[in-house]
Symmetry: C2
Subunit: 324 residues, 2 copies
């Protein structure tokens, strides 16, 4: 959550002029996104769609420019198929992103809706259904991208952090090294795949009332098991503060919603407890790495890896019960 | 520039329901304001004005709740007189602010426009004219508020920081203690007053093309000399990076614009060099204090007091030349 870069009004105006969207009226840096800077842009409107509001995203780090066509084409693909996903606004030359001061920027459709911290069962049900619709639609997308944050990566990252550095964060954290290795060894290789979001936290979902109005921030999207995406979403949505207080009703609604569109296969359902442990470890490992890697004085909120250790332990204990 | 507080979608929705503005559609934390949190709010619209966008401000610190009626009534007063100032949206009971989790919040009109880093002479001219119009209009405002950041405060704050702590920031900074005392001693007491903005930095002005579309962030507004406000604005707008590279053309346009609406009196014009030194010292002192007061690890950008030391030295050297 940050605006890393300052853009002058002149720079913004010149940029907007490269698109058929009218004149710049307003630009506010918004506190969203962890690997990019974002502005809410208002223009006088133009073009066929006549939109007057857009999100301008500047890709700051962690995002390989070579991946941008995959991410931005995916938005367009899903949006064109009726998914609540913001399309990319292409510039007058047809390009989906441009370079500004050496950094890639894209103009993205603005979607209404607010992120909810604690969903209702109705919202969780709709989220599951929309996720399944997205998985089915994305199977027709021609692009592919390897998941470079899978269980093998989690295991390697934690091992490289080392038990001492992990123990300095929390005495219960070094245990993640062994658990990650075990999860990676048992990881199923043959579950049905699609393009998955893989980071569908509440921040990345816009709700209007009880319905999903937007899925955003596809910058971890990759080709991987659909059931893994459901497990990530489960881990991200069904717990209270600190990864405690599992909300069975929310998890249940999420899965029922998902299966109302795309019933899980037997092996997918059987794999959910392990997939959820892998999902928890994905965030344990990246947060532990960032914690060690981030100077205490940096202007970034360090996220506590223990929030996902708590989820990991829960999924280990609960097994199938968590998904019943 | 920060969003200090997280508000859940439910809390935001409940809050918006207290106003006749329709249903909540979107809420984005925006990276504006140094002593408050701000959200750009979108609603379905309702009421006579039919506005659909608003700024929600939560007052975090530095702002005395007892001052809020002054600030918010001032916005309404100036807006009603045709100044480009956002009015306050009153709730269904007529209140201009409410309490949320123990903190005061206000819903403010959204104004278009973008903040420019480096104004054109045309923009500076219009800014001067709007500032003068605001000064004249605000003379009819019944509220008053003492300027608690005047030259005596600057002098006291710098003395209390102490030469050693200032020298630790920059060897050239302790000299500000003596200069501030001298400026405070020579400060004119009888210049014509109004309610002044007193913090009219580029961040607090929204431009559309070459015209001022909004003056915002009146949370330092107070009753003081109008020429001092012009001097603050001059110090805030007419310099390049680090307080260097005085732009005479911008300063000239600002003053010519101001005088196109409200000609300065002889004593005001004669006082400008001193007033500008006082303006520079106001920011030297608060920035030095914040620098010393802010832990290095805090998630706040510390502003370098030396940027305004450079301006102070410039105004001392240039004298009347800076305003010719």
């Amino acid at each position: 959550m940050a605006v890393y870069t300052q853009l002058s009004a002149g720079t913004l105006g010149d940029l907007v002029a490269q698109y058929d969207v009218g004149q710049l009226v307003s630009a506010k840096g918004i506190a969203e996104g962890v690997s990019n800077s974002n502005w809410l842009i208002e223009t006088t409107g133009a073009g066929a769609a006549g939109d007057t509001r857009f999100i301008l995203t500047m890709y700051e780090r962690r995002i390989d420019r070579g991946d941008l066509p995959f991410f931005l084409d995916l938005l367009d693909f899903l949006s064109a198929r009726g998914l609540p996903v913001p399309r990319t606004i292409h510039d007058r030359t047809g390009a989906s992103f441009r370079l500004l001061d050496g950094k890639a920027v894209a103009l993205i459709e603005f979607l209404p809706g607010v992120s909810v911290d604690s969903p209702t069962a109705e919202q969780a049900h709709d989220l599951g259904a929309v996720l399944a619709r997205m998985h089915l639609a994305a199977q027709g997308f021609s692009g592919t991208r390897r998941n470079d944050l899978g269980p093998a990566t989690s295991s390697r990252v934690l091992a490289e952090c080392g038990a001492d550095a992990l123990a300095a964060i929390d005495p219960a954290l070094p245990r993640a090294i062994r658990l990650a290795r075990e999860v990676a060894e048992r990881w199923p290789a043959d579950l049905p795949q699609s393009v998955i979001h893989s980071d569908l936290f509440p921040d990345n979902v816009l709700m209007l009332g009880s319905a999903v109005a937007g899925l955003i921030d596809f910058y971890f999207a990759c080709t991987d098991a659909m059931a893994y995406d459901l497990a990530v979403t489960h881990a991200a949505w069904c717990f209270g503060e600190g990864g405690k207080d599992f909300r069975h009703d929310i998890g249940h609604a999420l899965i029922v919603g998902y299966e109302s569109v795309r019933p899980l296969l037997g092996p997918e359902r059987a794999a959910l407890p392990l997939l959820a442990q892998g999902a928890a470890l994905r965030f344990v490992s990246s947060r532990a790495f960032d914690w060690i890697d981030t100077p205490a004085g940096a202007m970034v909120t360090r996220k506590d890896p223990m929030d996902f250790m708590a989820r990991l332990e829960f999924y280990r204990e609960a097994g199938d019960r968590a998904f019943a």
